[in-house]
Amino acid sequence: MLSKLKIALSTLVAGATVAAALTAYATTASAPAAANAAPPQAAMPAATAEPAKKESSSTADHSKFKALQVKFKTAPEVTKACLTCHTEAAKQIQKTKHWTWEFLNTETNQKLGKKHIINNFCTAVESNQKFCTACHVGYGWEDSKYDFSKQENVDCVVCHESTGTYRKVPGLSGHPTYKDMEYPPHSGKIVKAPDLAKVAQSVGKTSRANCGACHFNGGGGDAVKHGDLDSTLKDPPKFLDVHMEKKGLNFSCGACHMTSAHQVPGSRYTPTVDVNQGVPPHMRGKVDGSNPASCQSCHGSKPHPAKMAKLNEHTDKIACQTCHIPEFARGQATKMSWDWSTAGQLSPEGKPITKKDSGGHNAYDSKKGDFTWEDHVIPEYIWFNGKVNYTLRETKLDPTHVVKINSFEGSPTDGKSLIWPVKVFRGQQPYDSVSNTLLVPHTFGADGDSYWSNFNWDKSLAAGMKAANAPYSGQYGFVKTEMSWPITHMVAPKADALTCAQCHSKDGRLKNVQGIYMPGRGDQNKWLDYAGWTFALLTLIGVIVHGAGRIYTHRKG
């Protein structure tokens, strides 16, 4: 009893001592020295002379070309002038996805491309060509009768001009503005008509701004679609993209998407490199059919130094992007969901309305429905072997489940798959509730049937499906959909790559990746655990028995 009292008393005194010590520490221990009255001297500024203007390495100054020193009235006239020298350019363009908006996936035999797929952003091009073709590398695509063989309809300057004044506004069938116009309508913002001669004379290598004019604005606006492509990449700081940083490597898009005869390699339809087929990945300078727009093209399959050799053991299962793009949308928020089913709410006066979220992003638009946005998005991770299956207009769907607009194939056992980061874009969109197929809405146009003019789904869907020459029962509903986008841009500095513990932990990044044993993740085998604990218990019993035996024999003499 006395000894218990002593222990209790000791504990009490010890606790009080610790508390007193902590309080003393909190109040006095870290007191800084008296503040120095003199402020630290400011660093001397560096020389402020303006850097010399970088000389172009081009052998041609297009402003000196007579053919470009004319007053162009329309953009196709500019193209005609371009073609007087670049005789094969239009023919090359007309063989590309940028022109045809078609892609035949030979693995799945699915006809893809913007012309055919229905996504869960703006949904479909059919019946909305005048609007969507603002991002077509051509002029005049208004409807399904478009002449894809006309060379002067190819838009050269959208990819090559450098004035920054050339804008293809939605609704003009791919033409630039020829006179100043207000866009978006009723916004008070004026888009100036470009000086086409100046635009033509400014041409050069395709810059990030050229590609970004469309690819940063996919899905109907800046940062909407991809998550790893937005206007912050026009002039990205180091934290955002180590390859494109202006003060650093300053890569243009073409540095990776190395173009030949206007064919731009590397797209979401063929985004991967096969590292497990015994064939080395494409390396720069090598002529073959593999994808040069991959990390491995420059870095190889074993990119880490010898002291980090363990990381090289991961490259046959983990895509580079998984560790080196820890989050996407790090420059600004990206759209994460789009619910078309709530579109059409109007003000008491019958006018369309918009609402913003706390961050100032569009959260609701009568024309489009509800949106959500997020920045610094933690990707979802999946097994991906490069094969993608699409839910097309004619594909039967199950409306009781979330419809995957595109399904990424892959498994840990197929010998081809890597764990990839993806943006999963979620939404609700119209479907034919009788035939259980996706529908094409007619959204844009002043024709009385378009959704944005009358907010009437019946008319819009009937017109869209008629334009697509596809059957429609006349009954529609809204189905939940998901569309995945492989993340491959916005590579972070190497110090910001995922650490081991970010994956090898119980609630780590790869917690939902199935089919593999990952140390540290809490992957457990019940029988293996039983066996381990049994051995541990037996060892403990052995130690105790042995120790007791020793004590017993020692005391016995």
Binding site: K6, V18, H376, P493, D496
Partner: protein, 181 residues
């Protein structure tokens, strides 16, 4: 005697270990938020403006931006700063505890973690105050009561806009005036 000393030392070590283990969770709190970082910050700002007791917003800081400016990445962090002269006044008027001005303005941190979720973190003002005498303890107790109200959200109400500027006190706490301490 030896038993008493060894018992005392053992208890000292035990108490130290316990204090070390639980100190952070006692001094600071962290709760998950059902909203994103910006919306959480905006709702907290709104709550601060509505709670009364002289609370005003002092600023909104984004420490992640400094990391980015240095060429590196970190997940989003926002710090909502608020102050009430009703509570700061008595402390600032007392020479003995005026150094506690380093705890002003009151900060609530909103951040995203690697699980993709948003969390709210703050200082346990009630407990902290008890270290510094009865007057501070009482004041900080009231602060803690109000702090608890800052993080009660009504999801049925629309998300307010985030107030990015520093209302009434440009430069956060530095400028003084009506918006801060």
């Amino acid at each position: 005697m030896l038993k008493i000393i060894s018992g005392f030392v053992a208890a000292l070590v035990l108490a130290g270990v316990l204090a070390y283990s639980f100190m952070s969770s006692l001094m600071f709190w962290e709760i998950p938020s059902p909203f994103g970082v910006e919306e959480t910050a905006a709702r907290i700002q709104q709550n601060i403006q509505n709670v009364g007791n002289g609370w005003t917003l002092s600023g909104l800081r984004n420490p992640a931006k400094a990391v980015e400016a240095d060429g590196s990445n970190t997940l989003p962090v926002m710090m909502v700063e608020a102050c009430s002269t009703k509570y700061s006044g008595p402390i600032l008027k007392d020479d003995k505890v005026r150094y506690l001005s380093i705890l002003m303005p009151c900060k609530i941190s909103i951040y995203k973690k690697n699980d993709g979720k948003t969390y709210i973190g703050g200082m346990n003002a009630g407990l902290m105050g008890k270290f510094f005498g009865p007057m501070v303890g009482e004041v900080m107790g009231h602060v803690a009561e109000d702090q608890a109200k800052f993080v009660i959200f009504d999801a049925s109400k629309p998300a307010p806009a985030l107030i990015r500027g520093t209302p009434g006190a440009a430069g956060g706490a530095a400028a003084g005036g009506g918006g801060g301490c």
